[in-house]
């Protein structure tokens, strides 16, 4: 399958998942296109559209938590920074993704909202 149509297919699958979680594709189209392209390449290599911004290990259980969209497994973290780690998805109310910061989970206090 050529990468363009696979990108579209992933978009279709993932849109249905992120919507009920309160997320949307980032308005930064260039970023979205780049990340989906990386996921298609990762899928060609591993058979699975892994996260382009998190590292794989030898443990299946851990790797399954970084298959896109990994929001369900990192909800508290991503809800706090208002986007997923890669920035492929943002909270529905985000209009300026560049204003968001990439803060690791261990620096987020429980219940904190980083804006």
């Amino acid at each position: 399958m050529n990468p363009g149509s696979r990108k579209k297919a992933l978009r279709y699958f993932f849109q249905k998942i992120i919507d009920p979680l309160g997320y949307k594709f980032s308005p930064d189209e260039e970023m979205v296109d780049f990340l989906l392209e990386q996921e298609v390449l990762l899928e060609q290599k591993h058979g699975i559209p892994y996260c382009p911004c998190q590292g794989l290990t030898k443990k299946r259980e851990e790797n399954m938590k970084i298959v896109c969209p990994c929001i369900p497994f990192h909800r508290e973290h991503f809800d706090a920074i208002r986007r997923c780690w890669c920035g492929l998805y943002v909270h529905k109310d985000v209009t300026d993704p560049d204003a968001l910061k990439q803060i690791p989970f261990n620096e987020i206090k429980r219940g904190q909202d980083v804006r």
């Binding site: 970023m31 780049f34 990340l35 990386q38 390449l41 990762l42 382009p52 911004c53 998190q54 590292g55 794989l56 290990t57 030898k58 851990e62 970084i66 780690w85 890669c86 920035g87 910061k101 990439q102 803060i103 690791p104 989970f105 261990n106 620096e107």
Partner: protein
């Protein structure tokens, strides 16, 4: 001052991070985690997990300070005077 980073070849924020240091003419070393063999990856992940809690990239070390994520404000702060030059 020593700048070192673990990155992924697939991650846009890792590219931005490298770009940040390049633009400031600050020499740095990096290792692309995803391009290493399994044994090497194991070692790197263990080191990252000791210093942070996460599998998230980029992972930047400025001397002994660890910054996870693309965070130009923090890089600048740690670089002091050097971080200001353009």
């Amino acid at each position: 001052m020593k700048v070192f980073m673990y990155t992924l070849s697939t991650c846009p924020w890792c590219r931005k991070t490298k770009q940040f240091f390049k633009e400031k003419n600050i020499p740095f070393e990096f290792v692309d985690y995803d391009l290493q063999n399994e044994e090497e990856q194991d070692k790197i992940m263990k080191e990252m997990e000791k210093l942070s809690t996460t599998k998230a990239f980029p992972f930047v070390k400025i001397d002994d300070n660890v910054i996870v994520g693309y965070n130009p404000d923090k890089y600048s702060e740690l670089l002091g005077e050097k971080g200001k030059q353009k």
